[in-house]
Symmetry: C2
Subunit: 392 residues, 2 copies
């Protein structure tokens, strides 16, 4: 029973990677960078198209060097060579990994030593939302050996590019959001008093995959009387009860792109507090949709949603922000928060995720996915109903 | 149609975490360590039981400090506080994350400054198979501020503990391996000429989840005439053809523990080379099963499998090893490789994964999962058939 929408083409034409690399190189030139040394799944995939679930194995480090001119250079374990050769990358340097005594380090020395001699500036991801995707000991050894290199933070370069999606990326995001929407729409036929939460989650996952998702790696939520107090738990065997508010939040994937939105339901009946919370959140989301215009900032988005939320809650919840970027990762830059002055641009894909606290320790969250168009937001997820849906 | 095996209990009793922490502290004492600062999903979960899919969001860093005495201290985003409070951890320090200007850094300064004044030794994961799971810029700032601290590598401490599984961990691994086995056993009813590879993979995932897996996050493989040349690709829409060799490798999860094994099938008929490769691999696996005794090393395991593989291939493949540890991660320490002299111990759970190259650029891989018992290996996966199965 796959979704009866046209299925987009998997992968991207080489032109996509050529364009991304050229844009990165233009930004690198402004910052006088001789190259970017990238290591994370998403950053490597962004510039090469190298797409594999094998990143789930933490054993082997992977490196991509984006030079100031020309194609990126892959320095990768031999096990990935065959797949990388199918990409637009030509210079692929491999070693037989794992090799704890030299996991790519000699190859990186060969590549970077000439630049170290010139005391060149090299960009590495050091900022917010990043990690060092190689052993810290190897990193310390390498940078001591290449002490001539000036290592600078290139997070703003890579994140500013990745935040704005191409038409082909948006097509994939639109498709997985449609699958997510169809999956949520079918859930009321499953949700009922007496069913264990774990079974609801399992059924969601099965339906999403049956509808065409490659996977539903993120399925979380909670249910309790009149609300829930946590939004990141795995499911328990607790059965749904009359008066429960159930929240299910999901990130499903297609061709390496995520949707990320949720739905709330009341079981058999809803108390007034929950109904009101749902109403406030719906209107806060609407305020976000209306504010999501090119030229506004993430802070503007945050403020417009916060203003509605303040009708019921002045605490701004415990999630730290009211939405975020969406793409190859379940959550990406930017953040809809008071600290984030990122300018919204056409073709950014973002979530709107207002949350509020109410009653005694209860919380409720809404989430929708949108793409910012020249004339405003376009919903990628189907919109949650205005009133808290009650399932019998 | 869930598996008709007794389903183990989710989670662990507190005694499990108390025991793990005590063992870590005994090893820390030998190394004069005042604490371990841990950041990865698995290391945090190992000592606390904090289990959530929310790690898929890269936005927020999470920290756990295991002191020389007493319970670990959690320094985590407020969004995780409710879930962490359900664990055995009492000292939970939170901040409203994300907050790029101070993502847990002030809290870490408060915690570690007294130790820095004493120029204490602190363990951090810096070794093989690890990464720095926080922004490198924050790490550089923190260590410069706490320059009195002596940061040493604690990879051997944590990995030596995690390699040996408890009875409750083995019960979870046994259960997910049984689900994986049952899923593979049903696949010949799906596999046939004309079906796209992508549909085979999707069906595998659906069946594994229906049988009780929480998810099947790792489903990879390939199919081509007389063999395959790559073992980490996502599936294409290529349809199975007469004479194809299909390999499907999967990591399914239950309660946060992985199985990781594969199966090979020939479509309609198999050429002699493929049959021989399957036979050699089956016997190499058998040699590994027989060699997997407490007191032997991973190098011994590697050599016993290599000896059989050399009948057909002297190259040792391009995977870099012939199996690895298994647990909370798809691949864990140790590695069955010439470089790894790790002593096999009772209750280690490992994969045996011989691979060989043959013909013109073809490869074949076998994989089984075992637990090392006092008197030798016990299979957790059902054994692949001796002869390459031919599916019509």
């Amino acid at each position: 029973m796959p979704l009866t929408t046209d299925v987009p083409t998997r992968g991207f034409p080489d032109a996509e990677y050529i364009d991304r690399t050229a844009k990165a190189q233009a930004l690198m030139a402004k910052d006088d960078l001789a190259g970017l040394l990238l290591m994370s799944e998403e950053d490597v995939r962004y510039f090469t198209g190298f797409h594999t679930l094998f990143w789930q194995s933490p054993t082997r480090p992977w490196f991509l060097f984006v030079p100031a001119d020309g194609k990126p250079i892959a320095v990768i374990p031999e096990i990935g060579a065959d797949l990388m050769r199918r990409s637009w990358i030509e210079d692929i340097r491999t070693w037989s990994a794992p090799e704890p005594s030299d996991d790519g380090i000699s190859l990186l020395k060969d590549l970077l030593s000439p630049l170290a001699k010139e005391t060149a500036r090299i960009g590495v991801m050091k900022g917010h939302e990043t990690k060092l995707q190689m052993p810290l000991g190897d990193w310390e050894y390498l940078t001591a050996y290449l002490s001539g290199l000036k290592i600078v933070d290139c997070t703003p370069i890579v994140q500013s590019l990745r935040m704005v999606k191409s038409p082909a990326e948006i097509e994939k995001l639109e498709y997985i959001c449609a699958i997510g929407s169809a999956t949520f729409e079918g859930m009321p036929s499953i949700i009922r008093r007496g069913i264990p939460l774990e079974d609801v989650f399992r059924e969601f996952r099965l339906r999403a995959i049956s509808l065409g998702a490659d996977d539903a790696p993120y399925v979380v939520g909670a249910a309790d009387q009149g609300g829930y107090s946590d939004v990141i738990s795995p499911p328990s065997r607790r059965t749904l009860k009359d008066g429960d508010i159930l929240m299910l939040d999901s990130g499903c994937t297609w061709d390496g792109y995520f949707c990320d939105f949720n739905r709330n339901w009341a079981i058999d009946h809803a108390d007034d507090n929950s109904k009101r919370a749902h109403n406030v959140l719906w209107r806060a989301t609407q305020a976000g949709i209306e504010a999501a215009q090119p030229g506004k900032t993430c802070r503007d988005l945050f403020l417009s949603m916060s203003e509605i939320l303040a009708e019921m809650d002045q605490s701004n919840g415990n999630i730290g922000r009211l939405g975020h970027g969406l793409g190859m990762q379940l959550t990406e830059q930017p953040s809809h928060a008071a600290f984030d002055n990122t300018l919204l641009k056409e073709n950014m894909v973002i979530t709107l995720e207002p949350s509020l606290n109410y009653g005694s320790g209860m919380m409720m969250v809404h989430e929708e996915n949108i793409v910012v168009r020249r004339d405003g937001a376009l919903l990628l997820s189907s919109r949650a109903p205005f009133d808290l849906p009650i399932v019998n």
